[in-house]
């Protein structure tokens, strides 16, 4: 798969062919960033809260094996059946086995980026199992046959007219109706029938508490609960890094999560699942899938602190102006760019370069992941592992040679200015990517070095 796909630059180039659409996408996400700012301003201890959350997650990662054992012990005591999956394949197999054991071939699933990462839907469909994604945004992209483009706002890239068309085609709503209220109501009725009839529900996990063995699922729609409380079997899937030590720590994270994600003080529902209801089976699948490897990477382990709020995507100007699908991975944006290379460095070598290293992401991250520093460090690793294109390697080596030798540098600079001045067409053409939409700088008659030599640094007052 790796060599055939287009990279971020190419996909972003395509996205930018429709400038009006880019403006629409960019403004919508900037508005979400502004909502986050407004909500954060209203919390007097916001920066202290971020520091606290960061500290709790640091502690969690430093004792993760102990916390996982504690969590498992508590969960089992509560009547939850705990499974361990080393990778995506095993996760998919565990889930499939549970479904087949219960002779179920139709299920509902609420938002879980982990299951997206494992490509669970594709796997289940190949096994003849129908999966209905019940989060409205996820259902929309499911009907469209696309992956979500944002971890919190799955169909932020879709216009309401497009959604209206999809619903007309799949749900039989009137043609041309693009009213969000009407369409949401139609989705409610369509999905309600699924909730009432499906026997197995899959959910994700936002936080898992080591101290009590409970896990928390946060939604605005109530779809996770509608699925879980009406099903005979509830399967919750989580990455091993979703652990937090104590129940009271939820006070910190639930104050940060929704404000960072959408600017709401809290999601409508923060459901704490501890034990199955009478007659129900509750399963928890703990998934590694590269996380223990990332944990061992000193420079990158902090990426595992992520609570999947999406704030980094909303603030990132590159994400806003290139769209989540340009990252060709389940989790896009800045956090995606530091998680994905750990999964497949070759396939995702382009992502850490899809950034200007502006640093805005690190500032909005509720758990203070040093995202932009990690982007820089991944670039070094990717190049060292031999994943830089040969042409780039050659030009960098040339640049290094020029810049390490002052006389060569002076000569090259002078030559460059001469070319620009006298034979601009040599530079101002289609082969020069700068020149596509920008003028080149005007070459001055002398460099500063040359001026200084002549004037020996005399100021204009002398």
């Amino acid at each position: 798969m790796s060599s055939n796909h287009k990279d971020h630059a190419a996909l972003a180039g395509q996205f930018n062919k429709d400038e009006d659409r880019v403006d629409w996408h960019d403004q919508t996400l900037w508005w979400v960033r502004q909502k986050r700012d407004k909500a954060a301003h209203q919390v007097t201890d916001w920066e202290v809260l971020r520091e606290t959350a960061s500290g709790i997650k640091n502690n969690t990662l430093s004792r993760l094996s102990e916390y996982l054992l504690q969590f498992e012990e508590q969960a089992i005591r509560n009547g939850v059946i705990v499974h361990w999956a080393a990778d995506a394949r095993e996760h998919n197999e565990i889930v499939t086995t549970l479904l087949k054991k219960n002779k179920v071939d139709r299920i509902v699933k609420s938002k879980s980026m982990l299951t997206e990462e494992c490509h669970l839907n594709d796997h289940l469909e190949q096994q003849g199992i129908e999966v209905i994604d019940t989060d409205l945004g996820e259902r929309i992209v499911q009907l469209a046959g696309e992956p979500p483009s944002h971890i919190v706002l799955p169909c932020i890239h879709k216009k309401k007219e497009e959604i209206g068309d999809l619903f007309h085609e799949h749900l039989g709503t009137p043609e041309g109706n693009a009213d969000p209220q009407f369409l949401t109501r139609a989705a409610r009725l369509h999905l309600r029938e699924k909730f009432l009839t499906r026997k197995i529900a899959i959910t994700g996990v936002n936080f898992a508490i080591a101290e009590t063995g409970e896990f928390v699922v946060c939604t605005n729609e109530g779809n996770a609960d509608m699925g879980a409380h009406l099903a005979d079997v509830h399967i919750a899937c989580m990455g091993i890094e979703k652990i937090i030590p104590e129940r009271r720590h939820l006070g910190v994270f639930l104050r940060l999560l929704a404000r960072s994600a959408t600017g709401q003080p809290i999601t409508t529902y923060s459901s704490h699942f501890r034990s199955p209801r009478k007659g129900q089976e509750m399963h928890l699948v703990l998934v590694d899938n590269g996380r223990s490897v990332q944990l061992g990477r000193e420079a990158f382990r902090n990426s595992l602190k992520c609570i999947r709020c999406g704030a980094c995507m909303n603030t990132c100007p590159v994400y806003r102006k290139s769209g989540g699908h340009s990252y060709h991975t389940a989790i896009a944006g800045p956090i995606g760019a530091i998680l994905a290379p750990n999964l497949d460095m070759k396939q995702y070598a382009d992502l850490p370069f899809a950034s200007t290293l502006c640093g805005s992401c690190s500032n909005v991250c509720p758990v203070k992941i040093d995202i932009h520093d990690q982007l820089y460090k991944w670039r070094q690793v990717i190049v060292q592992e031999g994943n830089a294109p040969a042409a780039k390697k050659a030009s960098m080596q040339a640049m290094n040679w020029v810049l390490s030798h002052p006389s060569v540098y002076h000569a090259a600079g002078k030559a460059g200015r001469w070319v620009l001045k006298n034979t601009p067409f040599a530079v101002n053409n289609r082969l020069n990517p700068w020149y596509k939409q920008r003028e080149m700088p005007e070459p001055p008659k002398e460099s500063f070095g040359e001026w200084y030599k002549k004037n020996k640094g005399r100021s204009k007052n002398e």
């Binding site: 502690n59 094996s65 409205l136 309401k160 009432l196 109530g222 409380h229 959408t262 459901s271 490897v293």
Partner: protein, 197 residues
Amino acid sequence: MNSREKILAAVKNSQPPLMELPPVHVPPMESSLLEKFSSVLASIGGTLFVVRDFAAIGKILEERAGEFKRIVSTCPELSAVAETDIRYNAPQEFADIDLAIIRAHFGVAENAAVWVTEDLLPERALPFICEHLAVVLHRKDLVATMHEAYERIGSADYGFGVFIAGPSKTADIEQSLVLGAHGPGTMMIFLLDSGSY
């Protein structure tokens, strides 16, 4: 080695040196709890009724009875306006409930969420499956932030608990806020305030 052992060993080998847990600071709340709760509830699409007693709640519901076909409640005090002896075989039977009136343990002023646990419900599905939800709360049971909320919850032994903040909602279609996604489309909070303190 099975996957469990493999994963635990890999994690143990990779985890960094111990970093201590930080203290959790609980900030003071500036405005009054009721004021904050009330304004946040309004902003998230909920409606607040400050009432003296259950009789007052009953009156409000009587006036609106025509709007709802099937009303259930876990509060025996509301037996005149609602089904309080709820019999059922499976939670799917709650699908036709128009209004459910339940109690909550307490409310949180900073986000207008109310804390409900399994023991306050006949079925976990109830507050999600109804078309409209109403919650009864005492004014004295308001806390300032989520930190106090968890202090209040302590080490309670619930099988299921949920913070509910307002009606269910989505903004998935072009960031246009729509109330009433899969859960109830409206939420009323009846705040009992006998005024005696």
